[in-house]
């Protein structure tokens, strides 16, 4: 879809006209004295800035939710500032350092600790009912007993697979968590898929690239291991479960199940690989489903299944909170919007059109009717329930950015450098110790 100059100009004029009209209506309604009495602190019009990153579907969903909010609160307008995920942190740091943070911004759960430990976020105790949310997920926004943001959505990883490849390899996919493959069954399946894939294709891709190295913890949790000790103050990774997990996951590369250029530091992503047809299975977050649906079109048929399990089933805590800085200019209006964002209606609207999962109890227990490929969503929804509060605590410690980075650089050495499992877990334990001390 490309716009030519004329269309752009016409669009610009249209927008200008719309802005003009809304300004007019604002004036007339004020003049007529029918403006609703001020909900915002100052009584006048308030504009909130909302910094986030979003894919196409997310952007559209945010716009829809914001439009509904603005209609209900005519004295508050929200200006979204969409920045690339890779640079969102630098963007926010700069705004904070300049003493001009946005009124609202989006934060990954794994990054929450960085903000709560600096005590820069607005305490939302007064506007949130903790009991309305899934307890494991609500704990992701809590620090020192207080919620510092709204748990907006989560996304978890499940497996998206090609039906033609499974047929060729003679595999049947499990549909429920109980039927999920064991690591042994997964090994068997990956070997079979490797035999039916052509050169340039591989059995699967795992979603640990970009800042996703922590998704390796899913395997660790499945094996019954942990990254940190229960008090979150020391490493627990140098264990039998840790070594077993490093061995098993390094095997993905040794056995040629995954492409060598899909390691933790790579820039090859699961959605891209799946769409281009180079993998039979992709471990992918549900938020990628809209993009995959659009990319694959009808080139091949695909479905979803749960991740394999070992001692336990597990998944990763993907997803994001939305927060407000405590020194913001319009904290009252910001809190109002946050409250609305996690209301049942707004969350339903948002999650339905983005294939992301809700955090409200009332929505997790009901059928959400996702807009795109709803048939794929059951494994994701089930998978989300495998996260325990203890695991959530491990990935939301303030130092998690350092831990994630350590996972990235140490795992890369095991995956591509061929370093032994024992050396890898020892190095990880050392890095963890250094980070949490």
């Amino acid at each position: 879809m490309t716009l030519d100059r004329r269309q752009l100009l016409a669009g610009g004029l249209g927008l200008g006209a719309a802005a003009g009209l809304s300004a007019c209506s604002g004036l007339t309604s004020k003049a007529g004295g029918s403006a609703p009495s001020g909900g915002a602190s100052s009584g006048g019009k308030v504009e909130l800035t909302f910094v986030n990153w979003s894919g196409d579907a997310e952007k559209a969903a945010f716009d829809a939710v914001i439009a509904a909010f603005e209609q209900a609160n005519p004295d508050i307008t929200i200006k979204t500032d969409t920045v690339p995920y890779a640079s969102v942190q630098t963007n926010l740091d700069t705004r904070f350092q300049a003493g001009n943070p946005p009124d609202l911004f989006r934060v990954s759960y794994i990054d929450m600790g960085q903000y709560t430990s600096e005590d820069v976020l607005l305490d939302l105790s007064a506007s949130l009912d903790a009991n309305a949310f899934e307890p494991g997920l609500f704990s992701a926004v809590v620090a020192n007993g207080k919620p510092y943001g709204v748990p907006h959505q989560i996304d978890t990883t499940a497996i998206i697979y090609r039906k033609d490849a499974f047929e060729a390899a003679g595999l049947t996919a499990p549909t429920t968590l109980e039927e999920a493959w064991t690591w042994e069954q997964f090994t068997d399946a990956a070997n079979k898929l490797s035999k039916v894939t052509k050169s340039g294709q591989s059995a699967f891709i795992y979603d640990w690239q970009s800042a996703g190295a922590y998704r390796w913890l899913t395997w660790l949790f499945e094996a019954g291991g942990a990254l940190l000790t229960p008090d979150l103050k020391g490493p627990a990774i140098d264990s039998d479960a840790g070594r077993k997990t490093v061995d098993f996951t390094s095997g993905f590369f040794k056995n040629g199940w995954v492409a060598k250029n899909s390691s933790v530091k790579s820039t090859t992503y699961p959605d891209g690989a799946f769409i281009s047809g180079t993998v039979a299975m992709a471990f992918a977050g549900s938020f990628l489903v809209p993009g995959i649906d659009e990319g694959v079109k009808k080139k091949f048929e695909y479905a979803a299944m749960p991740q394999p399990r070992d001692v336990a089933a597990s998944t990763d805590l993907g997803g994001n909170a939305v927060v407000a800085p405590k020194n913001g200019k319009n904290t009252e209006a910001a809190a109002k919007f946050l409250q609305y964002l996690v209301s049942e209606d707004a969350m339903r609207t948002y999650c339905r059109s983005t294939n992301e999962l809700p955090t409200l109890k009332s929505l997790t227990s009901s059928d959400l009717e996702f807009a795109i490929r709803p048939d794929l969503m059951a494994p994701f929804v089930q998978q989300a329930k495998t996260l325990t509060p203890e695991q959530v605590a491990q990935v939301t410690v303030p130092q998690f950015a350092d831990l994630n980075l350590a996972l990235q650089s140490e795992l890369e050495k095991a995956f591509l450098g061929g370093r032994s499992a024992a050396d890898t877990t020892a190095a990880l334990a050392e890095a963890v110790q250094k980070a949490v001390k």
Binding site: D93, Q97, K260, K265, S266, A401, D402, L405, E412
Partner: protein, 308 residues
């Protein structure tokens, strides 16, 4: 006429009397100086300051830590690796890009048909931004779907080259892309220098019986000496500060095998750890190393320049 004479007399009197001072000069140098101060000097002094501080990523508050950031460096294996990689990268790319640049310049300076077209072709990559060149590199060197591996397979190779998952080959891909960008720059500078070499010298030496290689070695190379000097300094600085191409092409991977000082400083300061003090300290190291090299080069080459 008289006015012009008076003006001329005025300037000459001023020149003799009050050195070169001319108030309007301020207007001419002012904008450049302002820009240099705002975007070069102040940030540079800022880096020196921040390199001795611990910077809080959100509030921007600083607390002095003395030379702690520099001590961290000594125990940071990735920093050491990045330093070695940067040195290796410089040692490989500088002579190669200059050698190829000189060879191409000599070729373009000869009777090659369509010279202007070739010249543009060689120079073109330099005009494209480093990020775009890095992106083009990722299309070429992707080991699964990249053009280079597809070409190798089509030519009958048994398997593709692991450009992304093997450290040696990843480094090679970075060097190749860098040469592709940089050769054009060396070529243009050498081409300009070559046009200043008097043709008579070649004619005279040809009469004396010097062959082509001798003429190149004894006339061309010494007479483009100042250009070589300039190119060494520019290329070394460029190699030491390399960032965009590597950041996009390999992002320092696989492992740390293509990590250089520039990418590591960026990752430390703006990556998830957001340690801006340490990042600034690495920046200062790049500055000091470049400065030392330039001063040494300047000192050792001065005399030869005068001879040339």
């Amino acid at each position: 006429m008289s006015q012009a004479a008076a003006l001329a007399a005025g300037t000459s009197r001023r020149r003799r009397g009050r050195s070169l001072w001319e108030p309007s000069a301020l207007l001419f140098v002012g904008p450049s100086v302002l820009l240099a101060v705002a975007f070069l000097i102040v940030p540079m002094l800022g880096s020196f300051f921040y390199s001795t501080q611990e910077v809080s990523p959100l509030s921007g508050e600083t607390s002095p830590v003395g030379l702690e950031n520099y001590r961290t460096m000594l125990g940071d294996a990735t920093f050491v690796r990045a330093l070695l990689n940067t040195a290796l990268f410089t040692v490989i790319t500088v002579p190669l890009s200059m050698g190829l640049g000189l060879a191409l310049a000599v070729l373009m300076n000869s009777v090659l048909p369509w010279r202007r077209v070739w010249r543009t072709v060689v120079y073109l990559p330099l005009v494209i931004s480093g990020v775009s060149v890095g992106l083009i590199g990722t299309f070429l060197y992707n080991e699964v779907i990249g053009v280079v591996n597809k070409l190798l397979l089509a030519l009958g190779a048994s398997g593709g080259v692991p450009w992304q998952s093997n450290g040696f080959w990843a480094f090679t891909s970075v060097v190749l892309v860098t040469l592709w960008i940089r050769v054009g720059f060396s070529m243009i500078i050498y081409l300009a220098a070559l046009q200043a070499v008097p043709v008579e010298l070649y004619e005279a030496s040809a009469l004396d019986g010097a062959n082509g290689w001798q003429r190149f070695r004894d006339i061309t190379v010494p007479l483009v000496g100042p250009a070589t000097f300039f190119l060494i300094i520019m290329n070394v600085i460029y190699s030491f500060q390399v960032f965009d191409t590597i950041f996009v092409l390999t992002n320092g991977g696989p492992g740390n095998s293509t990590e250089v000082l520039g990418t590591w400083a960026y990752k430390v300061a703006f990556g998830p750890t957001r340690d801006q003090g340490y990042g600034a300290a690495i920046g200062v190291v790049i500055f000091v190393l470049t400065l030392i090299f330039t001063v040494v080069q300047w000192r050792t080459n001065r005399t030869r320049d005068e001879v040339a």
